[in-house]
């Protein structure tokens, strides 16, 4: 008898065969695609798409996506029409599932009416943006969120082992970027290097990245960028549907299963609802030469959403819960610098380990809850008013390698560190009706956050209140090729610092400041568009930077906060050139130049800190002026039908200008080159079978500050990945399947941005199989 509780990956593999048992029917084909503005490339919401012959159709959603199901093979004419736009027809021969995008031209005479009556379309950002969705997102969805984002130019991760990955946007991470989970600012323990975002990647239908200071819209801390984790919208058609996802990973024998069900009721109360859940279990990871002891992971997540959408009023409630238990590699736990130097000298972990699902000490247990209520009121004359209320609760327990000394027997398993953070937010945004080609938002936001440190005195207890007010306007006079955006925000933050260990700090601090943004988009005829953004944002010093006092076991360093820190002020300039011939070539080049005044960093002390455990190198939080500049480049070019070359490049130069030195933990230069072959003669099709071969090339980081690290940055590496995906049909039932092989050649390497590089290599080859089975009429 196989114990499935211990072998989730086996369960996952078994479930892979489930669809074979499912029944099928005739007329199973579908046509899907997107309706876009032919000139701007923006999605057009609520266009009608119909099949003339079959007299069936669909209405595109807010993002312009449409889908018509249950079609028989045959010849059809697909018609797309929308008020205020011209109408398009596509004759087509339907034999397999097809994707057809429509590009409609707005008819100039009716333009005003469209703006007045039309649904607000998400405006294109004037900053550099990037996004991950569809197969690109799905292929690594079982891995931590940050890992999936790495394939985008300019995005890296700061890892603590393979299971904790903090996203890094153009060199900035942690408190300098904001993660929006379903519209709500993720408030966990972002400050710590070993604290990854507490988000189930399967919630996301799409992950968008905004690079650069975006403090006006997203709040004062967003000086480095924003990550938006976006679930799909609740269904607006009646019916029932869902999807089932399963993934198995060879390395760590990890199995992931995720399911989603959604429905929309018919009748008087047009309620939509969705439930979603994910189970994950993995064991010890393996490098090419040895196992990494105690690197297992367990995750149990679920979420639900209920929404009501009427013409004038919408309300949606969403709840999600994230629970994880993470093993921290045993050999990376050290007591003092001698231990660390011993580990570096050994060049590999003390013990080779073996495979096990057991998660021992040290470990982290994290719970994160999010509850939000979002309501929107569309007023016929005054515009749109929306209010977002949310509550988050983050509960983190860290267990040291060593059980606690002198505890009563029932308390011996208590954690060494325990934090609870509760955050309430309220955001009220008024989107006014367009006035003289101006569209804009005015908003108020409020946040209250409370931290209780129940164990461990690293961070004091505190309460923070934050109030902000912003105003953003966008000027767009179609078809004039220039678009302008400007915005301003004022934030006030008040903090009350309470107890830390046995001491009472009892300080109250207040910070307030302005953020501003100015951006422009200029579209040259047909091919090229330019985006320029100049933004200034600020970040109040975090409590951890003000009052940290203690030894970090992972990094063998003593860190001391500085209560006199001033806020950081960033001035961010970014220019993006985009090229898109709407056929076979798209490219983007983003140049950025960021100055951060009073950049907070850890400055090494001359004298080590002496403790009962021996000497630790000591660091003080201090401020400097930092300059981060670089470029991100990406290219997709279908040079022969079916064959696409993809290339990504990220370069970054970071400088500490007061010390005339480099800044630690900055990503090294990296390149990704892929060759993708898409089967079938329609490369436009989103779900066409494909195979992609990728070379990831990371150079050695040579720009590191002197005397702040125990070992030099590891040499650069080249890694090969392989990926394939296809959608099969078992009669009516579509099955999306994918294969991803990371580190195809089982190369041994270490990554500068992984804090466990002192102790062990990166994981070796990882073969991942995934299957997604959508079902019902709402998929």
């Amino acid at each position: 008898m196989i114990d499935y509780r211990k072998n989730y990956w086996l369960l996952g593999l078994w479930l892979l065969w489930m669809p074979v048992l499912l029944p099928g029917q005739q007329c199973t084909l579908s046509i899907s695609g997107r309706v876009l503005n032919a000139v701007t490339g923006e999605p057009l919401a609520f266009a009608n798409v119909a099949i003339q012959e079959a007299n069936v159709g669909a209405i595109a959603d807010e993002q312009g996506y449409y889908r018509i199901d249950n079609l028989c093979a045959g010849n059809y004419t697909l018609v797309c029409s929308m008020v205020g736009c011209d109408h398009k027809e596509h004759p087509l021969q339907l034999q397999s599932n097809l994707t057809r995008d429509f590009r409609l031209h707005e008819t100039a005479i009716q333009l005003d009416r469209i703006i007045v009556t039309g649904e607000a379309i998400a405006l294109q950002s004037t900053r550099a943006t990037d996004e991950l969705s569809g197969a690109e997102l799905a292929s690594t969805q079982g891995l931590p969120l940050g890992e999936s984002l790495k394939r985008l130019a300019g995005i890296t991760t700061l890892n603590t082992g393979a299971t904790i990955a903090k996203p890094v946007i153009q060199g900035m991470h942690g408190n300098r970027i904001v993660v929006l989970n379903n519209g709500v600012r993720q408030e966990g323990q972002q400050w710590g290097l070993e604290h990854a975002p507490e988000i189930d990647p399967f919630i996301a239908d799409r992950v968008r990245i905004i690079k650069g200071a975006a403090g006006v819209r997203y709040g004062s801390d967003a000086i480095g960028g924003v990550i938006l984790v976006e679930p799909r919208a609740l269904p607006e058609e009646e019916g029932f549907g869902g999807e089932f996802n399963t993934q198995g990973f060879s390395n760590g024998q990890m199995g992931v299963a995720s399911a989603m069900l959604q429905t929309r009721l018919s009748g008087k109360l047009p309620l939509s609802g969705r439930i979603q859940g994910t189970l994950k279990r993995g064991g010890n990871l393996q490098t090419p030469d040895y196992f990494l002891e105690n690197t297992g992971i367990e995750e149990y997540n679920f979420s639900w959403a209920v929404g009501l959408k009427q013409d004038k009023f919408e309300i949606e409630t969403f709840y999600s819960q994230f629970n994880t238990i993470l093993g921290i590699m045993r050999s990376a736990h050290i007591g003092n610098v001698t231990d660390l130097l011993n580990a570096i000298e050994r060049e590999r972990p003390l013990r080779d380990g073996a495979f096990s699902y057991e998660i021992g000490r040290p470990q982290q247990r994290i719970e994160h809850e999010l509850f939000k209520i979002n309501s929107v009121l569309k007023m016929s004359e005054a515009g749109k008013l929306s209010l977002l209320l949310s509550r988050q609760f983050n509960f983190r327990r860290e267990y040291d390698a060593h059980r606690l000394f002198n505890q009563l027997p029932d308390a011996i398993d208590n954690p060494s560190i325990q934090f609870e953070i509760t955050t309430h937010t309220a955001d009220l945004v008024w989107e006014h009706k367009p006035v003289m080609n101006l569209r804009g938002d005015l908003g108020l936001s409020f946040m209250r956050q409370r931290n209780s440190t129940a164990r461990g005195a690293l961070i004091p207890n505190y309460i923070t209140y934050n109030g902000g007010v912003f105003w953003i306007e966008r000027w767009k006079n179609y078809p004039f090729p220039l678009e302008l955006e400007a915005g301003l925000r004022y934030d006030y933050r008040w903090m009350s610092i309470g107890r830390q260990g046995r001491d009472t700090i009892g300080e109250d601090l207040a910070f307030s400041n302005l953020s501003g943004t100015f951006g422009a988009i200029y579209r040259l005829p047909k091919l090229v568009s330019l985006r320029l953004n100049v933004a200034s944002a600020w970040r109040a010093p975090h409590v951890s930077e003000l009052y940290s006092d203690g030894v970090h076991h992972g990094s063998a360093s003593y860190e001391r906060g500085n209560p006199n820190l001033r806020p950081e002020r960033a001035l961010n300039q970014s220019l993006t050139v985009e090229l898109d011939n709407k056929k076979n070539l798209s490219a983007s080049l983003n140049l950025y130049y960021n100055l951060v005044r009073d950049f907070i960093f850890l400055e090494p002390r001359d004298q080590p800190q002496l403790t009962i455990r021996g000497a630790f190198p000591a660091f003080d939080y201090n401020q400097t002026d930092a300059r981060l500049m670089g470029l991100d480049w990406s290219l997709n070019y279908e040079f022969v039908p079916g064959w696409t070359a993809e290339s990504r490049l990220s370069l970054l130069r970071a400088r500490n200008r007061r010390l005339e030195d480099y800044i630690i933990f900055m990503p090294a230069d990296q390149f990704q080159h892929s060759l993708k072959y898409t089967f079938g003669n329609n490369a436009n099709t989103n779900n066409a079978p494909f195979i992609r071969f990728t070379m990831v090339n990371v150079l050695q980081q040579t720009r590191v500050p002197a005397n702040t690290d125990y070992a030099p940055p590891p040499p650069g590496y080249t890694r090969f990945d392989l990926e394939a995906g296809a959608t099969f049909y078992l009669k009516k039932q579509p099955i999306e399947a994918g294969l991803t092989i990371i580190n195809l050649l089982d190369e041994s390497y270490r990554e500068y941005l992984n804090r466990f590089r002192y102790f062990a290599d990166e994981p070796g080859r990882n073969i991942a199989l995934r299957v997604k089975i959508p079902f019902g009429n709402l998929r």
């Binding site: 004038k312 009023f313 309300i315 409630t317 736990h333 050290i334 007591g335 003092n336 001698t338 231990d339 011993n342 003390l350 509850f371 209520i373 309501s375 009121l377 007023m379 016929s380 004359e381 005054a382 008013l385 209010l387 209320l389 509550r391 609760f393 509960f395 390698a401 060593h402 000394f405 002198n406 505890q407 060494s416 609870e420 509760t422 309430h424 309220a426 409370r450 209780s452 440190t453 129940a454 164990r455 461990g456 005195a457 207890n461 107890r499 830390q500 260990g501 046995r502 006092d549 203690g550 030894v551 003593y558 001391r560 800190q609 002496l610 403790t611 009962i612 455990r613 021996g614 630790f616």
Partner: protein
């Protein structure tokens, strides 16, 4: 405009209701106003040398934890050419009203612990006399014989989860305590 007012009214009443909902759920899990910030640690190492008819005690003590003041470490003065028995004890004196003896726990988990000694100069290296349940060295009790007069140092390290089968067990495991004492043999 009238409908607008009604809409607004309805909007805000729903807001009120929903915010009440939000805040009522929030009260459950928030912890007490006065959390217990206790963190257990070893604050004190006591070396007791018995020999030549005398007992010599040397203490290394860091009551304020990792930050703040460095540990205060006594100097050791031993007699030349004398046999000594050395015992090592660990205390948690962070709460002066409730001093805990950590030595007992080291003894209980003897197979997971090891006391390592590094001696320099005139200080001879202590020879470990006690063992854990597996017959491997533990280090709470040791012996040494001093030689000629001179100066030296003794480094005492308490290792957690060392590999006692390794060639050099003291290069493995993680360190719970590490203190260096100055020694004078006269």
């Amino acid at each position: 405009m009238r409908t607008n007012h009604l809409q607004l009214l309805r909007f805000f009443s729903i807001l009120l209701l929903s915010s009440a909902l939000l805040f009522s759920t929030s009260c459950k899990k928030d912890s007490d106003e006065d959390p217990d910030n206790e963190q257990e640690l070893i604050t004190t190492v006591i070396l007791t040398f018995t020999g030549g008819g005398t007992t010599i005690t040397a203490v290394a003590r860091d009551l304020d934890g990792d930050g703040g003041n460095p540990p205060v470490v006594d100097n050791i003065t031993l007699a030349a050419n004398t046999d000594y028995a050395l015992t090592v004890a660990f205390l948690d004196e962070s709460d002066p009203t409730d001093v805990e003896d950590i030595t007992e726990e080291v003894l209980e988990e003897a197979d997971e612990h090891l006391v390592c000694f590094v001696a320099t100069g005139a200080m001879p290296k202590p020879t470990i006399q006690d063992t854990d349940d597996d017959g491997k060295p533990l280090g709470l009790v040791s012996t040494l014989r001093t030689g000629a007069a001179g100066n030296g140092t003794l480094r005492v390290t308490l290792k957690h989860e060392p590999d006692k089968n390794a060639a050099d067990p003291c290069a493995t495991g993680d360190t719970d305590v590490e203190q260096t004492f100055s020694v004078r043999v006269q």
